[in-house]
Subunit: 273 residues, 2 copies
């Protein structure tokens, strides 16, 4: 999917919501256990309930990998079930030397046909660039994460005055551009969004920390939105586990629509729709 | 496996060799293709040929994951085939927020029963500590990697004069110690081993860059060895793909024995055996 196509979907759906398919088998409503593949049955119902209100789905690969081969099957079926006009993110946080990143790229972009994959920057250039060799595929590079440990290294000040995450952003522009690179930016750090937008004004940011993790959607839009929206805001548990009962899909619909409506207002206030 | 047990194996085998099972299906001798699981058949023969000369095996997970469910089966069978007195490293370079790292820890330490897993530090504390909650299991934290991109961020100087990789080492000592933490250190940076040993004098270092990647075993021993050896030196392609013919296992034996003999001399020169 191209950046233009993604922005068109955002305008059409009046939403920049990404639904995180962190479908922990332990949290799935028990009535689904009777099916051969409860995780897929859960995802299918979540997708049916939320697809009108979101422009992206992001399965966190750990939840599938932890189930062994069965998990990979659930993941593939889920991916095949997602409508083609919705952007897909393999939240895998991979990053290894060149040869190996090549293999991961093949796994996620060829075998599984995801639109994008999250990548950790610590190993630098040759761990990231193999993912950038595919047309209309994306790297979403970890820049400033929303977890507490994100402050251990990412906000270290370097000799030249940059934060480490700023160095990561700047360096990444030697490898790619706003048409094949996005960045993970924790919404709880809205004060730092301004610094980020100075370096990557046109790029999409994937914001994982709104909702259960406590960031403010309004702050994110205020400091992060650009003229092609430039934001994908993720919510996982707040939507997919809004209810643990048989009405989980209905509640997921309610919650995703609620967020979509807030997003519509924000897009309007920025004259993007 | 405890640190003492690992050192005992090193003394018994007079070796600190780790064999990297980067068993790319495209490079496996063609006569193995007739088997149901060529990757496992390849690994089995490599293990039979090299197990006398090494103390650790390190499958790089990418090579298995890229094969989908079949790859995970090959990996599990390989792991089950490795003798219990040999240390096993899941070279997965994972690292995600706490909940998710918990799942990865469960996958690699419970479902698959690896002794250790490589972890990327960028997301900090809560991405690493879930792996440290298991007795006799290890985190091998990326510190200074041997690939060219390793210089993009890891050797950035911080405001206080530390390199970023030194900050990673120091910070990690708040989370664990030499009995549950090792570090990946690129052998091509032998000049920096001295700095590393000042911070983690007693810890084991996993050195991936000797052999095909060009580091010197003598330098590594000179600057990195401590009084429990403290080194696991990996060789992958130089051993497992020493020959692409039917004699691949024999050649793997020859190459691993060659390295073991050099290691024996180095252990003697340090009076460790």
């Amino acid at each position: 999917m191209t950046r233009e196509e993604l922005f068109n979907e955002i305008k059409r759906k009046k939403s920049f919501l990404c639904v995180g398919l962190d479908s922990d088998p332990k949290k799935i409503p028990s009535f689904l256990k009777k099916f051969d593949d409860p995780v897929f049955e859960f995802n299918k119902r979540i997708i049916d309930a939320t697809k009108r209100f979101c422009v992206a789905y992001k399965p966190n690969i750990a939840f599938y990998e932890a189930q062994g081969t069965k998990g990979w099957e659930s993941l593939q079926k889920t991916l095949d079930y997602i409508p083609k006009n919705i952007f897909t993110i393999s939240d895998a946080k991979r990053g290894d030397i060149g040869n190996t990143s090549n293999l991961y790229a093949r796994a996620f972009f060829e075998s599984m046909n995801f639109d994008s994959v999250t990548v950790a920057p610590y190993m630098g250039n040759d761990s990231v660039t193999p993912f950038l060799q595919y047309d209309e595929k994306w790297v979403i590079l970890l820049a400033l994460t929303s977890n507490i440990g994100g402050l251990d290294f990412q906000t270290e000040k370097l000799e030249n005055g940059d934060y480490l995450f700023e160095r990561v952003l700047k360096k990444s522009l030697e490898w790619g551009n706003e048409d094949n690179l996005m960045y993970v930016v924790g919404a709880t750090r809205a004060d730092l969004l301004t610094r980020i937008r100075k370096i990557v004004p046109n790029s999409f940011l994937l914001i994982p920390g709104v909702g259960a993790q406590g960031g403010s959607l309004e702050d994110v839009a205020e400091f992060g939105m650009n003229d092609t929206c430039g934001l994908l805001v993720n919510s996982s548990r707040g939507i997919i586990f809004a209810s643990s009962g048989e009405d989980f899909a209905d509640q997921a619909k309610v919650e995703s629509e609620k967020i979509q409506q807030k997003m519509e207002a924000l897009l309007r206030s920025k004259n993007l729709i």
